[in-house]
């Protein structure tokens, strides 16, 4: 099959009206107004369907969706702790495998095992368990919803916090200018485990996101989908702008929607004409302290990243800054 045909085949959802109507993530949860994590989880469950077990790391989604005696989850859901969601999913997946082999569970029934973890639970405290799960080859899809700080505990810096971003533990003052380091490239670190499928996506592109969830579930073995999750509370923006900011992240090259499918790398949302990073940064209070020079420093860093991505794809999928 040509790579073009292959690509077409992976488009499980081509139009918005093909998205399943079934709601497995029920409303009434306690996520902040405008939180895009709810959008991500809702679509994740639409892609996965009811034969799914979700293992959730401690974090915003966990605390906001399961305040006893209520739950938003219409699929089986397990939360153990912060740092061990990947280990817990390893246990669930292994149990299902053995019980299917022994005939306790119908061996022909495909049960999706999905981990949902935030950036703290994935980049930082849960990283060891994640690496173990990937290396052991469990048939689990790990979904990282990345809001670039410890939002659940009140906006503290994580390994995912981008350069110069204000957080409560990287305040902007006379000496500090917010976070001092760029984001840790978690998806590439996951890819270095030689897992079959790694993708990055963003809720402003729902079909891209849904198709990647679906692909991650279909591909055997550990798969990883990294989703940018704009956070009105921690990023300091009006709750109505979450999806707009998510789109700007891709349009400025601050975020690139790519996938690595069995060694084949591609950018799934090409950006022929790129916007300047200031359009993304200026919408968010966490960057309001930045000087023109600091914004240019971020622009330079993004330019280098874009160049690197284009080299990896072998053509210019992301164009130069035009506005």
């Amino acid at each position: 099959m040509s790579s073009q045909a292959q690509k077409k085949k992976k488009r499980y959802f081509k139009l918005i009206n093909q998205i399943p109507r079934q709601e497995l993530f029920s409303p009434g949860h306690g996520l902040c107004a405008g939180c895009t994590a709810g959008t991500i989880v809702r679509h994740l469950l639409k892609a996965a369907g009811p034969n799914t077990i979700v293992v959730n790391a401690t974090g915003c989604v966990e605390v906001s969706t399961t305040t006893y005696p209520y739950t938003s989850w219409r699929v089986p859901w397990l939360h153990l702790a912060f740092e061990n969601a990947a280990a817990a999913a390893s246990g669930v997946e292994t149990a299902i495998k053995v019980l299917q082999r022994k005939g306790v569970i119908d061996p022909n029934k495909k049960i999706n095992i999905v981990v949902l973890g935030g950036d703290g639970g994935t980049y930082d405290i849960g990283f060891q368990a994640l690496s173990g799960m990937l290396e052991r080859g469990h048939n689990v899809m790990y979904v990282l919803y990345d809001n670039e700080a410890y939002m659940n505990t009140g906006i503290q810096r994580s390994g995912s916090t981008p350069l110069f971003a204000w957080t409560t533990t990287t305040p902007a003052g006379k000496v500090w200018r917010g976070e001092r380091r760029p984001k840790k490239p978690i998806a590439e670190i996951v890819a270095a485990h030689r897992v079959p499928y790694v993708a990055t996506t963003n809720p402003a592109y729902p079909l891209d996101m849904l198709n990647k969830f679906k692909r991650g579930l279909i591909v055997e073995g550990p798969t990883f989908v990294h989703v940018l999750q704009p956070c009105p509370t921690g990023w300091r923006f009006d709750p109505r702008y979450g999806i707009k900011i998510a789109r700007l992240a891709t349009e400025t090259g601050m975020w690139v929607n790519w996938e690595l499918d069995h060694g084949e790398f591609d950018v799934t949302v090409p950006v022929p004409r790129r916007k300047h990073v200031k359009h993304y940064l200026r919408m968010q209070g966490r960057f309001k302290h930045l000087t023109e020079e600091e914004i240019e420093e971020i622009q330079k860093w993004v330019d280098q990243e874009v160049e690197r991505i284009n080299k990896m794809v072998g053509r210019q999928v992301i164009g130069p800054v035009e506005e």
Binding site: P50, N51, T52, I53, V55, N56, E62, V63, T66, T67, Y68, P69, T71, W73, R74, V75, P76, W77, L78, H79, L80, A81, E83, N84, A86, A87, A88, A89, S90, G91, V92, T94, A95, I96, K97, V98, L99, R101, K102, V104, I105, I111, Q128, A129, S131, G132, E135, R136
Partner: protein, 408 residues
């Protein structure tokens, strides 16, 4: 209590096994589905032997080679949440690393079983035996059995699943024994030719509440001040029930297989002025040491604590009620407490409300596997009689056998 179950016809084979291997044989005979473990001395040969069983097709199970003990227990309880019979094993630092998940296992009421080859804690690092690791788990709501022979390790792990999976209990169980002193010493152990009688005694229940797409539930939810306390009180109630369940499990085990241990074990307590209380493999040394004394007419006895949590208060009081002095030997230290022996504290509190009670003396010994021989025990017995003669037990624990400390 009358036990109605007939003794099962079981063909046993006698094998030379360490306590670690005895644990592995029990796991095989219980048809455990998922084992997740991480290597740590002196536990490791448990999972090595289980791996051999799986590799040779003698056990139809999956082993998860996790990257830490934290993940070992996480994967074990998650497998249990998904409906599997699950097992892990650890010791010392590994048990400490698991500590967070110990509470989650019991809080989620997941009936997993774990064997502990007890070992001292760092720093300084020591791979040798004491019970510091186990005693640090006291308040985690795990049912805890301490075995004193390899046979008892096998039998206790079998009993452990029966207790853990009882619908009125649903709590995890630890089966502990001395690292090295038992984990790496070989004893004759009877194991069945065929595991059917074992599974008849401890049948698997795949129909318990679990992660099932047909009947979705949320496990491990956020719980506020309105409900959290009720969850925790249910654990208190389950622990209370577990005491009688553990007793019945042992009685039925004895009726079926001819071997039973009780919640405590005693030797000559009816006729003793001084009773030595110990746990784990040390009890054997205590018996060896005092048997010749009893023959000579010395009024000394012994008690072994087998069930540590829930603590069998009534059994302990019954066994020790006739004594004038009880000397509790603890292989762990609760730092900063005048009475620093965890079991000594528990024995003392058992008698607190009684008018008539024995004097109770706390002795710390065997820390980091400082040698305890029969002579050591006889010295402790001699000292106990001296204290009895003085009529007042020391108000502080005695640190027996440490350099520079002597008791007159």
């Amino acid at each position: 209590m009358a036990v109605t179950v007939q003794e099962a016809k079981v063909t046993w084979k006698r094998l030379p096994l360490s306590s670690n291997y005895a644990a592995a044989y029990a796991v095989k005979d219980l048809d455990v589905d998922v084992i997740a473990a991480y290597p740590i001395t002196p536990q490791t040969t448990v999972v090595e032997k289980i791996a051999e069983f799986i590799a040779n097709g003698e056990l139809n199970a999956e082993m998860i080679h996790v990257e830490s003990e934290h993940s070992a227990l996480s994967a074990t309880i998650a497998a249990s949440a998904a409906g599997a019979r699950a097992f892990t094993a650890t010791a010392s630092q590994g048990l400490e690393l698991m500590h967070e998940i110990l509470h989650i296992a019991s809080g989620l009421r997941l009936p997993v079983v774990m064997s502990i080859a007890t070992r001292a804690l760092s720093a300084p690092i020591s791979i040798w035996n004491d019970y510091s690791d186990l005693m640090n788990t006291r308040d985690t709501s795990w049912i805890t059995l301490i075995a004193s022979s390899a046979q008892e390790v096998y039998d206790s792990i079998v009993q452990a699943y029966r207790i853990a999976e009882d619908p009125e209990v649903m709590l995890p169980v630890m089966v502990a024994y001395d690292g090295y002193l038992m984990s790496h010493t070989y004893e004759p152990v009877l194991v069945p030719e065929d595991n059917k009688p074992i599974l008849d005694y401890a049948p698997k229940n795949y129909n318990r509440i679990k992660l099932d797409p047909e009947r979705p539930i949320s496990m491990g939810t956020l719980t506020g001040p309105e409900w959290y306390y009720e969850f925790k009180y249910q654990q208190v109630v389950a622990m209370k029930k577990a005491l009688e369940k553990a007793r019945k499990a042992d009685e039925e085990f004895k009726a079926r297989f001819g071997r039973g241990y009780g919640l405590i074990e005693t030797f000559n307590v009816e006729d003793a002025d001084v009773v030595i209380v110990a746990y784990g493999g040390l009890y054997g040394t205590v018996i060896e040491a005092i048997e010749p004394l009893v023959e000579k007419g010395v009024k000394v006895g012994a008690m072994r604590l087998r069930l540590w949590r829930p603590f069998p208060v009534e059994d302990v009081k019954k066994a020790l009620g006739n004594a004038k002095l009880v000397t509790v030997i603890d292989k762990a230290i609760s730092y900063g407490a005048r009475i620093a022996g965890p079991v000594a504290l528990e024995v003392m509190s058992s008698f607190y409300h009684d008018e008539a009670k024995p004097m109770i003396m706390s002795v710390i010994a065997g820390i980091g596997q400082r040698r305890i021989t029969e002579d050591t025990i006889r010295e402790i017995v001699d000292y106990s009689f001296k204290v009895l003669g003085r009529g007042r037990a020391p108000e502080e624990s005695l640190y027996w056998g440490v350099r520079g400390v002597r008791y007159e």
